[in-house]
Point group: C3
Chain length 656, copies 3
């Protein structure tokens, strides 16, 4: 199942229920003018279409759908269940979520439902059935948008209903309470359970919560939210078996196990909100695009939401600089997006997000912002041949959801060690060097990659460790950073000296972790280059590995070991960005990996999808790029082919 | 109804229940020695006069009242309801307030009652009836002191009783749930209510609370507390129709709608606690005095509480510098106070405020602090003719309670934009230039002012916007700063481009807000002078206005438009204090406004009430002031008239 | 009753239930190799030995005890009650503790019980009876380890059961509610109680909690936890009257009244975790060792837990530097410890503390860490004659638990004034000068000391003040710092001017406190030396005292008064460390106190126990020490006697 749109979808969340009919007419006119091809409708419409229990008022929504099809606009039709209406909470207070301290969350915001609530699911699926029946054959229906930003506001619930569901989940996982005790190491602190009935969610406790209880609760919570999605999907598949389904993921957090969820979707959607105040925001965004593209093995994904300019939910909400919205949109396309959509079409007059920018802002369609949106719409519409193409990368970055969750539990050697930081530390030098990179799971087949980077795989199963080992044995290049291979799936230390599953592969052992204090740094020399190192050090004892980097007291921190046909690097600290770049470049070159384009000016990104070469100038000044053969910039078709491309400040070129 | 005292009232909170009888005798002697003319009694006496339900023990309090009248001291008699006794909370736990997270507040501090509790109000008014009957004809009774610092510790309550009261209030405000849905923009996030019964206070929710729900809850909470006051006032008016009533406001917050409350009082009282560590504390205090004087249209107000020296409730509690207590007291008088009173008469031996300084401190009546208090009492007693006089100002500063509340809700363009900061930014340059200023409501008649300043009127009704427009059309000068005129009374954006209700008046539109990041600044030139600008910028498109200030990229940020007979200025950023002073001076001069006295040394405040000219030297060093004709310093009567006044460090002169 | 071990005990927490049987065998072998003489067993074994209500499974524990005795290792046998098993919480949810906001704490961490719960105590003592019966005559049993780190995670509980117990405790303390009202100053804020039934724990309230209510609740909570210990001790004494009992105190907090608790123990145990990132950590540790040695009048104490290297519960957990673990262990011995023990023997594979270092770390017995542990074990075993010896000091530092608690309540002149800071400010210059010091209670007999230092005795009874006064009258030297002698046992100000009970003794009065703002400092001259002063100043009026230190505005801050046969110093600020050292040296010299050893290099600590002189080089470089006569270093027996000792970096010598 794929999207049948034949172009890069362009549009946004469309919430006509906030506006009177006369505005709807203008909306259609303006959408056509802006080359809008798809909109997401109905996301928060439950209270409007079912104003009271079991009574439905879809007439107005029929009109919306008809308007769309009449104007050639596809509907990404929401299941409308993202926020239950107040009447449901009043009728069934037990659907309201509860925090770890036992306090309840109430209606008045959004997502006020317990992920495990059978009552919520029953009402939700009843509604989905009505919607799916009503619009199954509507010509506008192109995509099902199940829920919305699952887990963004209510990722977990600690109520008694959730507790019972957690026990059910644990029974299924462990079979016996003895197995649970073994996995949870309950001999510690007198936590042994005699019966599943005694087990609770990791509510507020004195001292630290049991870490495996926390880890399993994170797994459970992701599964429960997925259960909500699957319940709705089952109804949809039954009634509209040919319409693809998606759900839009919100930012990146470890609340939802992306890889597991992606299996259940036809296409992955992502809501991307880089921080315009951050001059390196595009680098971090680049990582997220690689993550979401990786969720279904490189399949193109949908940028389901971005802000035309400022958001409303940060403490200080920066507007985007002139050209930045277009640039960042093309960056998403360059990194695999087949849709560029926004939250939202028309800026709300009231409510909590009225200061979130929109495609039609408060300043109206005559504003620069709207003109920029319309221009981008036309531009994207002009290049339908990009759709469906994919990058082809030789480097893989390993990310595992269970490891991420476990890494960031409390009572670790250093709470400063964070998964995203580790990913960024390794991804940024690749990004800056224009080396294309896929984000993969340690369970994936890695054979096609020349280089695999493991930034911080704290938790690893024996099977995954064996797969990585085999990858090197058969000729792969591997770069592993510190605090990897430490615990098993139950957060129990792999015995035999750190990092036990990788010791032979890496040719070393780590005797002790020596995390650094906040603000302190060590001097380090890596591959002949000196600089600072932060965050972490450790006592490494080599057992066959060659030492290629040392702290200034002579202790090793970078090693390289030949293993089988391959090479395994190990990095025991967090060097400063300059050193990381030098190290990354060295390892990349040794692995025989080529960048998309070499020798680019700093701040210029090059990315390839199929036959298209994207050049993205993230600088606030013009930059010049030379390519090796005359190419045509499809965004400036009049110019003809050339070997030199002049990119204005925040400019974009799509070459072929 | 006015205070019949014929002098500037002087005294403090008097809590004899904390002390044995022998101390009472000393109290009377010391009060006479310190020229005390009025004390507040009974504020926290409920548990002492009604030790158990319905049993009253007023004998001791009779004695207190008799002592006062015997010594010629007036009583500001409290209704004693500020903190209910523990027995009431035990008997009726439902009177205890509840936080947004559902947790209850308990006895053991103060103000532990739900503002909407009918049980609390019933017990409170029953007590007030007993007190009013008993002391209706007592010669000491001069003023009713209803409650105490309403809302200081418990401004809101989220309990089920409050929820029901909120629904009643909403029914009265909106009539139908459809109207509420419209006002609250509940089409957003599926928040539509089908019945008032579904509506709740803005309790803890996932994501952001509905902003209009929050705004209405703030209005409701102020009204509920006012309802407590009005219930007591009704009893008082019935039994003592000729005795004026007041209540003392605590600091400045938006919890209580001051203008609405002031209508119900005969005189406004204010508790003022400037921070002695802050060398500009008197400037901020000056703003508060203008606010409270403005609450009843310039009527003199009562400084009901100040600290003789340190308070106890800050993290670090600075003592006042020598002379500072006298200086700050005279500042209050200069800005309209007809009473100078303290918390409290005698420093407590125990309890939570025993380290709050008092007129008779722990160090005893022989201390410097007590001698300073007594000297000030005598000084104030010597100038009864000041009483009742008023300043006459040509500049008005606009402040609106609903706008303040709405401005500081979450999910705004920048959470750094705060109402008090905006007021201070505009008030301080007027204060420093000794330009007298009244704080007014946008609903006031502004015709008498030469210049009206609107620091940040985020929320404005069509009617108020029209009134400001008419003010300029008929010849007024208006200075409006950014983020004004954005939303209506329901926090819904005024459509038509920002700031829609002022666009024609100001001759411009704002396309987009560009708030600044923390710590960042822009270079700006205003009226030919350059400096820094912080906090905010925006994309201004002029539509007739003249540009008189620009950022260094050339974009406009200060404009001036002729409109009708008047002039309308607009400022789109927050310039640094030096630039603000230059701008303010320019606008003031253009409007033909004169300072009280020009050319004063920095740090010397000049203020006028009636025929009295006050000179206040806030500097820690001496300053010299020249006046235009020989005047007599009433505080140094022996010196005779002169044109030059030598003010010692922190010195004061009252000239005539 | 004393420990019958005849050597400095060496070992750690031993938790074999976390490991399979084959590991137990290796444990015994490794313990022998590391000269382990005692281990703590069973601390968190409740859930393992009583897997369900009333069913016991002690077979495995018998084996553990038998292994110990077979290997000549003594058992510090825990009562196993530190953390109740989950089945008990499920059966009796009312044992779970409740926070001040009313929210409950759940199982899943540790110490999840209400200190006042009769149900918890019943189940706990039932278990203790079973254990004590079973092991009364076991040859391994050497010491009872009651509970574990009482109050570390759950020092207080606000539930209704606790409330009722608090009322019972208050009835016993006060007899009548009138007495309670007097002590609690309930005339303030209308807090008068008419009946004990109205009194509650200091739960969440609006504004500040009543301070005496808080103070009494702290006393009560300490007593309730002590009640838990005493209930268990009663069973133990009944069944094993000859076995000594201890409990291990966690860090230093005012939760438990150490002096009161120590009376009930046969020996005091302490868990010490200095922060390796802090280069002065040994100085603060030195204070704690003096505190715990003082708990039973100088009796040797047990270092029951320390980390072999890093802990796991800080945000960033530093490893110890090479040699630091040995150095710090010897420091504890030098300051009176007769046991050096660790948490824990074998590093856990799972659970919340798996990253806490252990005697057998994850890196295994071949690691440097384990080799260092074993070497220290052998070294300690070689010097059994140290056991039981005591220091003999001429300086006493006064610390009182009630005063500490009261000092750190809210609504004080400055929340920056902290008891431990005050102790450290006075203890550090003594420590750095190698002047031995005992920490005493103001109720102790001080006659034997030449100098008594009172860093900050905010709360003092008339009797204790009289004892200190008498101490000076009869010839003692006393140094009192600011904010001492302010309130009585009920946190009521001693009337008569600050500090009333010491005014005559010190020859001065304090008119007003002038705390300093954060980050600000004053210039001060003390005894002819100038420097900075922080935190505090005050308006001192001398009444007979000589002024020996002044701020640069000339106001006094250091005074000296002759009183009777003695001398009383008063310090009204917190000078910088250099000035504190000069002042301390001066006062020490005037009092005729000699250091253990004079003229040592900075960073070298000298301490004496009996005939043993300990030299501890806390520097990361070598240091040379000259002693006045040839002495032998018992740790380098081959070297022979010498007058010069060369200490390597972090080196130790034990001379005789």
């Amino acid at each position: 199942m794929t999207l049948p749109m034949g172009r890069i979808a362009f549009g946004g969340d469309y919430n006509p229920e906030q506006w009177p009919r006369e505005v709807w007419t203008e909306d259609m006119r303006l959408m056509r003018g802006a080359s809008v091809s798809m909109v997401s409708v109905g996301i928060f419409s439950w209270a409007q279409v079912e104003p009271r229990d079991g009574e439905h008022t879809f007439d107005w929504f029929d009109e919306v759908m008809d308007n769309l099809s009449a104007n050639g606009i596809a509907a990404s039709l929401a299941t409308m269940t993202a926020s239950p209406p107040p009447w449901l909470a009043r009728k069934h207070q037990e659907i309201l979520p509860v925090l770890a301290d036992g306090s309840r969350m109430w209606p008045g915001g959004r997502q006020a439902y317990c992920p495990s609530s059978p009552v919520y699911r029953e009402y939700a699926t009843r509604l989905v059935r009505v919607i799916a029946r009503r619009y199954a054959d509507h010509p506008a229906l192109a995509l099902w948008h199940i829920g919305n930003e699952y887990g963004c506001d209510t990722p977990v619930c600690y109520c008694d209903v959730s507790a019972e569901a957690f026990r059910t989940w644990l029974r299924a996982r462990y079979g016996s309470v003895a197995e649970l005790n073994e996995a949870w190491s309950t001999t510690f602190w007198s936590q042994r359970y005699d019966d599943f009935a005694e087990v609770l969610p990791p509510r507020q406790v004195p001292a630290f919560n049991n870490p495996t209880q926390q880890l399993d609760f994170a797994r459970f919570s992701s599964d429960e939210l997925l259960g909500c999605l699957l319940a709705e999907k089952a109804v949809i598949r039954e009634l509209t078996p040919d319409v693809p389904v998606t759900t839009n993921f919100a930012g990146y957090s470890h609340a939802l196990d992306l890889r597991r969820w992606a299996e259940e979707l036809d296409v992955v959607s992502f809501d991307s909100y880089p921080e315009p105040f951050d001059s390196r925001a595009h680098v971090e965004a680049g990582l997220t695009y690689d993550i979401y593209r990786g969720a279904r093995g490189g399949q193109p994904w949908l940028l389901m939401e971005q802000a035309p300019s400022a958001v409303n939910w940060r403490e200080r909400n920066a507007a985007k600089e002139p050209g930045q919205m277009r640039l960042w949109s093309w960056q998403a396309v360059a990194q695999g997006a087949d849709a560029i959509m926004y939250f939202q079409w028309r800026q709300s007059r009231g409510g909590a997000e009225k200061f979130h920018s929109a495609m039609v802002p408060h300043a109206g369609p005559g504003s620069q912002l709207h003109r920029d949106v319309a221009a981008l719409g036309a531009e994207l519409a002009s290049l339908p041949e990009i759709v469906g193409t994919r990058p082809r990368n030789d480097v893989a970055l390993v990310l595992d959801w269970a490891s991420w969750r476990a890494l960031e539990l409390d009572a670790r050697p250093s709470s400063d060690v964070k998964q995203i930081d580790a990913l960024l530390a390794h991804h940024a030098p690749l990004f800056d060097a224009n080396v294309g990179c896929d984000v993969v799971s340690p369970a994936d087949d890695l054979g096609a990659y020349r280089l695999v980077v493991v930034p911080n795989l704290y938790l690893v199963s024996e099977a995954d460790a064996a797969r990585l080992t085999e990858y090197v044995r058969t000729g792969g290049h591997l770069l592993v950073s510190f605090f990897s291979g430490i615990v098993d799936e139950s957060d129990r230390v792999h015995l035999g000296g750190y990092p036990a599953p990788f010791r032979e592969l890496l040719g070393l052992r780590v005797e002790e972790f020596l995390p650094l204090d906040t603000g302190s740094a060590l001097q380090v020399e890596l591959l002949g280059q000196t600089g600072g190192a932060m965050l972490w050090s450790e006592r490494i004892v080599t057992e066959g590995a060659e030492v290629l980097g040392r702290f200034d007291d002579g202790t090793p921190t970078l090693t390289r070991a030949k293993f089988g046909q391959g090479v395994a690097w190990y990095l025991g600290t967090r060097p400063d960005p300059g050193l990381m770049r030098a190290l990354s470049d060295h390892v990349v070159a040794e692995a025989g990996v080529e960048p998309v384009l070499a020798g680019l000016p700093s701040g210029v990104q090059a990315a390839r999808r199929g036959e298209f070469l994207f050049l993205l100038n993230h600088n606030p000044h013009g930059s010049t790029v030379d390519v090796d053969r005359p190419m045509t910039d499809l965004l400036s078709p009049g110019k003809g082919a050339a070997k030199r491309v002049e990119l204005p400040a925040r400019g974009v070129a799509v070459l072929r």
